[in-house]
């Protein structure tokens, strides 16, 4: 039953992705009044997972390593931005704060899950 290991690995990957997303949101909020600044976002988590899976297969099939999940902030605005001022700035503070709330919620859930399963693992291994 290596599902437990997969669980901790999944938590760590997702948290890393969430951290990069949080710093991107922080950049957007800080640059809310910078002329010409376009709001950034990270690629969806599924895409990041796919990319990592491909690089893993490329090296050695069956070799279990974490091919350093690379998450970068890219200019992907899936939908129309809520506003674009005449100065070319496309940051919407409300949208950024909503995203930040979502990031926080997911991060809290992840760490909660990791803690619970860590507890269970320790309890089951105790003599």
């Amino acid at each position: 039953m290596t599902t437990a290991i997969h669980l901790f690995d999944a938590v760590s990957r997702n948290n890393r992705w969430l951290s990069v997303r949080q710093s991107t949101i922080a950049s957007n909020i800080a640059n809310a009044n910078t002329p010409g600044y376009r709001a950034l976002d990270v690629e969806p988590f599924e895409k990041v997972l796919e990319a990592t899976r491909l690089t893993l297969q490329a090296t050695q099939p069956g070799h279990m390593t974490d091919g350093a999940t690379k998450v970068t902030a890219v200019d992907v605005r899936k939908s129309e931005p809520w506003e674009t001022t005449h100065s070319g700035n496309s940051v919407s503070l409300e949208q950024e704060l909503i995203n930040a709330g979502e990031v926080n919620r997911a991060y809290r859930l992840n760490t909660g899950i990791a803690k619970a399963f860590h507890r269970m693992l320790l309890a089951s291994a105790k003599a």
Binding site: S19, Q22, T34, L93, T111
Partner: protein, 140 residues
């Protein structure tokens, strides 16, 4: 690569600094909205504006914001006919600052809102760091 959550704190701090500089300039404008010159024909207080710049901080690999500079706004001064005023020129016109109180107050609210948003972002990044370290704590 540097820890993204620590970068978020640094970025948020730069946002706070920029917005509070902006707020300082706005309050200066408001305080001097009626400040004329002292001698006949002299220029009054000139409205100041801040310019923001996006800067890629290489050490943390993130976009911070910086105040590019505090400049004088180049819109024309308001003119009022007030012959008895010390700053009145030979035609009796006094130059008043090019400060529009309504737009300055609106700017102040905007700066406040942006400041709060930056504060919120910093708070959340700090909470996320605390949650991570909290995983080590024994018990629930």
């Amino acid at each position: 690569m540097h820890d993204p959550l620590s970068s978020a704190l640094r970025i948020g701090a730069s946002g706070l600094e920029a917005q509070s500089k902006r707020l300082r300039v706005v309050t200066e404008n408001l305080a001097n909205a009626q400040s004329t010159g002292k001698t006949p024909g002299a220029d009054p207080y000139t409205r100041k504006v801040v310019t923001f710049e996006n800067e890629l901080d290489e050490t943390i690999g993130a976009n911070v914001v910086k105040v590019g500079g505090i400049e004088r706004h180049r819109s024309p001064y308001r003119v009022e006919h007030n012959p008895g005023h010390p700053a009145a020129d030979q035609n009796g016109f006094v130059k008043l600052p090019n400060v529009d109180i309504v737009s300055e107050v609106a700017d102040m609210h905007e700066a406040n809102r942006a400041y709060e948003a930056n504060l919120q972002a910093i708070k959340q990044a700090r909470e996320m760091i605390a949650m991570t370290i909290d995983m080590l704590r024994t018990g629930s």
